[in-house]
Symmetry: C2
Subunit: 371 residues, 2 copies
């Protein structure tokens, strides 16, 4: 379905549609009104988020107790609890779940999704050898790689435990399938590194696996637990997909346009690791001599493999400078907006309540966020 064919539902606030338009630019969050403040958007589910928070911090292991503080810090440092919030919001479209006796199943889902996310972050630290994540020193820098692998495994086990607490077979199956999709995507990303001839399709597959699949698990899982009809479950699944794709594309744009201080890592870090993201694909497409761009990167990579890392760094720095001032950024942004317009459309048939208002707000927030 083309985005041009999607009629904007009457009930969707004009402001949201306006926000997701080309004239708006990412980076406008400071000029935004209160409605864009994420705390305001999360207000209707604040009690649920507190329950999730307490569940996440209850690490049930004497031996992992010393690690618990590290987990909590890692999870807490700038972590927006976006995934749990998506689950809690998505659960509120079939009567009030917050006041239902089985609200604990939604809390379990939300905690499961966030714990799975955290587990993959912990293992990503091993994989990336990254020094900083979310601005805080990574676990890996403080612990050795072995403990980090085990810590990640323990979190996987805890995530699986939480998912079992949903007491819903379909949600449990969704959880284990999502875990496999995520890991599959991580290996794809690893194999595709420094492959400058890869197709753009690989990128979409990767960000689905890495980000959108877990957003889907949060929104679809909550829809299942709240016993919505199948059509609405599908809507919320699609919302998770489109919102997740947009969210990751914007993340990948910010990796080029952000500065070191807000990113907590040097700009262009994905490319520096050889991971190609959407702005790069647009840059290549728009470049009058894409072959020379690729050849230069490949040559620099060969130099780096021979021990001359400075050549690679310099090649990346040059490309990042050129790319962030090119139309590639705007082209990638427009793709994110397209996904967000679809996400907004996916909510059209759901009841018009404060929770839907918050999901609309998150779409707006996603476009405008700067970190």
């Amino acid at each position: 379905m083309l985005i041009s064919q999607v009629a904007t539902p009457q009930s969707i606030p004009r402001k949201v549609v306006d926000a997701i338009t080309p004239q708006n630019t990412i980076g406008a969050v400071n000029q935004s009104n209160g409605a864009l403040d994420i705390n305001t958007l999360f207000a209707p589910i604040r009690p649920g988020l507190r329950l999730v928070e307490s569940k996440l911090r209850d690490v049930d292991s004497a031996i992992f107790a010393p690690l618990a503080e590290a987990f909590v810090n890692l999870i807490g440092s700038g972590g927006k609890r976006l995934r749990p919030a998506l689950a809690l919001l998505s659960a509120e479209f079939n009567g009030s779940m917050q006041n239902a006796p089985h609200y604990s199943t939604v809390i379990a889902l939300a905690a499961s999704v966030e714990m799975l996310h955290t587990a993959t972050l912990v293992h990503d630290d091993v994989i990336d050898g990254a020094l900083l994540r979310r601005g805080a020193p990574t676990l890996n820098a403080r612990w050795n790689g072995i403990s980090t692998v085990l810590a990640g495994n323990y979190l996987f086990g805890t995530a699986a435990h939480f998912s079992a607490e949903t007491q819903n077979m379909r949600v449990i199956a969704l959880f284990s399938d999502t875990l496999r999709v995520i890991v599959d995507g991580e290996l794809r990303q690893l194999k595709d590194r420094h492959n400058f001839m890869q197709k753009r399709e690989n990128y979409y597959q990767r960000i689905y696996a890495k980000t959108a699949s877990l957003f889907c698990a949060a929104t679809q899982g909550a829809a299942i637990l709240s016993q919505l009809p199948e059509e609405r479950i599908a809507d919320l699944n699609q919302f998770g997909y489109n919102f997740g794709m947009a969210f990751q594309i914007i993340d990948d744009i910010l990796d080029f346009t952000g500065d070191d201080a807000t990113l907590g890592k040097p700009a262009g870090s994905d490319l520096r690791q050889g991971t190609l993201t959407l702005p790069f694909f647009h840059y290549l497409q728009q470049h009058p001599d894409a072959r020379s761009v690729i050849a230069a990167l490949e040559d620099a990579q060969i130099e780096a493999d021979d021990g001359n890392a400075a050549v690679w760094d310099e090649a990346v720095n040059l490309l990042v400078r050129d790319l962030r001032n090119s139309p590639a950024i705007e082209a990638a942004r427009e793709e994110a907006r397209t996904f967000l317009r679809r996400a907004v459309d996916n909510l059209a048939a759901l009841p018009d309540n404060v929770y839907r208002h918050s999901l609309f707000g998150l779409c707006e927030y996603a476009v405008k966020r700067t970190y």
Copy 2:
């Protein structure tokens, strides 16, 4: 309950009780009759084992397809499929599960348990940096550590997926709890390495986490799926515990008494890595000057930390030579026999059928095995 208080049930074959007695020695498997052959013991559940095998080899990922062969080889090379067999045998005490329409749930449990075991083996390769496991080159030697971590994660995801296929909430919860227990134990083992002052209790905790917990998941899970009464579920859980403890103790004895060829690794490899096992604790207890033994090891370890690995190796070689000719081996063996006698007792109230006969046979096999 003391072992001396356990009455040997009338229906338990005399041969089994005889086998688990001090006059028998580990290493007698070559003198054994056909009843001890593991293929004979597994015969009643052969069709189920074939279904498990095919399930294990069906790796559902294009990107992991190149790894699939490596997994299959790792899993298959000498792997006895003991854990799936325990599940399949334990499922047959409430009417025939093999012919029941929901036998697939037992197959899913058996595959889940073996896949979880394999996932931990894969990560152990990263942790140990071991060169050989089960006689075949480890994944880690062929792939880099990163791919190995991800491969392990994918197997965890697949194990979780299989456990969800049991469609039984209690079994699913048992699975995720077992995963956490195993990982918790791995970190304990890591922290306890080279701590020569640790209590023997630490050892029992470790081998429960490492081995017995998964045996319990196999036997208890199958009992749950076959809808046995709670008392019999508890019996099979206890059987898994006692059999698993004995199995790991015998493994730890063989690490001292075996030769390099049958072990696929140098004798005394646990101690060489700083992991203390039951024979070592008995050796210390029996030694007239335990303090000097510990002091010598600690000194050698300090030398090794200073880069003089040969000193540590020599200290271990000396100790292994002394220990394998000491009464410590027999003392550890007697503990294994005690666990096995309890395991046999746990089966007393179960129906006397070919499956129980095979479980008895496995207890006998456990004492006599040489690898």
